[in-house]
């Protein structure tokens, strides 16, 4: 149980971190997550099919593709002629990129075991204890988190948050908040594409069929928010002293990803062990119910006054 939780954690944590930036900094619930995640995976498939020596070259191209996909979403939303809804622009890009990813991979499912001699991660961790790989990757995630933490705490990251929440401040100074939105979406989707790359290399499988990364990622963010709000609400006495800094904001996707992968593996364990319910059919339903419960609990225990609009979710 712990193994399945900890092996899923690095992927989910990076993807949630990317999504969280667009959700809470730009107030943009970005449905492009599915697209950039898929691009991150299919880049691995394409490069290995073309005979690349390792998957590391794909690691270079994945964030670039993710950034392009994010920019397209941003342009659809901010363009003077389209002015598309936030949800619609993201959805449209996710929908369209399935075709492109299919063309890149040639098929909807590629097992990477046939390329095992090319996979560097596979060769490094071959023969080691099963816990070594996820723990090393988790430490890597922590490094990425520190980097992003530093970036988002700099005035540049804070400016992104201003672009999302108080765009008039930017506009009056002669800056265009739309540029910040496009830049921010490119950045967040580049991070998510790295998560897609990690998913393909860890699971040794490129699968374009499981559409629905957005649910996992969103659930992680919500659970993380709930847990942190509850903890801060319990430990700080007055509402005025509660600090909700950028540091705490960025903590919640990581905490949430860990909690969510634990919940998920726990549900799977119970379902398959005690209740003998067919996994594939009922798992989604149970997870949806768990998320519903968390959302309900979040409303009860929220330590913060909810007057800031935070992306509508």
């Amino acid at each position: 149980m712990l193994y399945s939780a900890i092996s899923e954690f690095p992927i989910l944590a990076i993807a949630a971190l990317g999504f969280y930036i667009s959700l809470r900094f730009l107030c943009f619930p970005d449905l492009t997550v599915d697209a950039s995640f898929m691009f991150g995976m299919s880049v691995v498939g394409l490069s290995l099919r073309q005979g690349a020596s390792s998957e590391l070259s794909a690691l270079f191209f994945a964030p670039i593709l993710g950034a392009i996909v994010g920019m397209i979403t941003g342009l659809l939303h901010t363009s003077k002629y389209l002015k598309m809804n936030k949800f619609l622009s993201g959805m449209l890009v996710a929908f369209a990129s399935y075709s492109i990813c299919y063309r890149m991979c040639g098929q909807a499912d590629i097992s990477l075991f046939q390329y095992r001699s090319q996979l560097i991660l596979f060769r490094i961790f071959e023969g080691t204890h099963i816990f070594v790989e996820p723990i090393v990757l988790s430490i890597l995630v922590f490094g990425i988190w520190l980097g992003i933490q530093r970036l988002m705490n700099s005035p540049f990251g804070l400016a992104l948050r201003t672009a999302g929440h108080r765009s008039e401040v930017l506009q009056v100074s002669g800056l265009n908040p739309k540029h910040f939105v496009i830049l921010g979406l490119a950045f967040s989707n580049a991070i998510i594409a790295v998560a897609g790359w990690l998913n393909a290399t860890i699971n040794r499988n490129v699968s374009l069929k499981n559409f629905g990364m957005i649910i996992n990622v969103l659930a992680s963010c919500l659970i993380g928010d709930f847990l942190l709000h509850m903890l801060i609400g319990l430990f700080s006495k007055s509402a005025r002293s509660r600090k909700r800094s950028v540091f705490f904001l960025l903590l919640s996707p990581i905490v949430g990803a860990f909690a969510y992968s634990l919940i998920k593996s726990f549900v799977i364990k119970i379902l398959s062990g005690q209740l003998r319910i067919t996994l594939t059919t009922d798992l989604q339903l149970i997870i949806a119910l768990v998320i519903m419960l968390v959302a309900m609990a979040g409303k009860q225990f929220n330590g913060f006054d909810q007057n800031d609009d935070e992306g509508g979710i």
Partner: protein, 250 residues
């Protein structure tokens, strides 16, 4: 001696509602804004004060070309004006200018960073300044050297902005905006939400800042008494909206 900073020409503001006939609020009005003078725009509620400001700052959706700069033949819109002049804007409610989850000093620093953005030749230069935290320390030193800021902040630089009162925030925003080199300070009823004590504090702070620095101010306000007491020594122009025109006196 009056040197004009900009001129509003043929300004027309009208609203169209589905059920009511088109309502013309301002009809073909002209008005001069002079350098280093304080302009106070007055008029009853709904006379279009805020609309004038919003179009001047480029926040209105439709583009109206009604601003004329002295050295330019062509009229420009508010959006273009924000790219030519540095406009410091103080909104009616201080919370409208504050980004949530960011400490007070960072909020103020962002303001001055945005205002300074035009002095950089390319966006990468701006980005490199935005990515480093070194300039934040300089900003704190510069700002807290002002006495009125020092009294309010009192070392609480990294507190949430919600822990400060509306009046304190408004004065802090004013000080941070003025400390960045701006061409025109635009204030939309900056003291509307403040009590009498904070109101006089705010106008006195403005008078104090105007003594140390030459500044063009354009503001709406209902408080006549404060205008006559605190900013007497400064050249000021009273602009009144009457019969859909702007009439300037003083």
């Amino acid at each position: 001696m009056k040197t004009p900073l900009l001129k509003l020409e043929h300004l027309t503001i009208s609203y169209q509602y589905p059920t009511v006939q088109e309502a013309m609020i301002i009809d073909n009005a002209d008005c001069d804004i002079y350098k280093n003078m304080a302009h106070f725009l007055q008029g009853p509620n709904g006379s279009g004060k805020s609309s004038i400001f919003r179009s001047l700052l480029g926040l209105q959706n439709e583009e109206m070309k009604f601003i004329k700069l002295p050295n330019n033949e062509r009229r420009i819109s508010g959006q273009e004006l924000t790219k030519v002049l540095r406009l410091g804007y103080i909104p009616q409610f201080p919370y409208q200018a504050m980004t949530p989850s960011i400490s007070i000093i960072e909020n103020l620093y962002l303001r001055s960073l945005f205002l300074e953005s035009r002095s950089f030749s390319n966006p990468f230069q701006w980005l490199s300044k935005a990515l480093s935290k070194k300039h934040l320390k300089e900003f704190i030193n510069r700002l807290s050297s002002l006495e009125l800021v020092h009294n309010i902040l009192d070392g609480r630089y990294f507190d949430r902005f919600q822990t400060f009162s509306g009046g304190e925030l408004q004065i802090l925003i004013l000080a941070a905006t003025v400390s960045a080199d701006i061409d025109l300070l635009v204030m939309d009823e900056p003291t509307a939400k403040l009590d009498t004590q904070n109101k006089s504090k705010f106008w006195n702070s403005l008078a104090e800042l105007l003594q140390t620095k030459e500044l063009t101010v354009l503001s709406t306000t209902h408080e006549n008494s404060f205008l006559s007491t605190s900013i007497m020594e400064h050249n000021n122009v009273l602009l009144k909206i009457e019969n859909k025109k702007i009439i300037s006196t003083g």
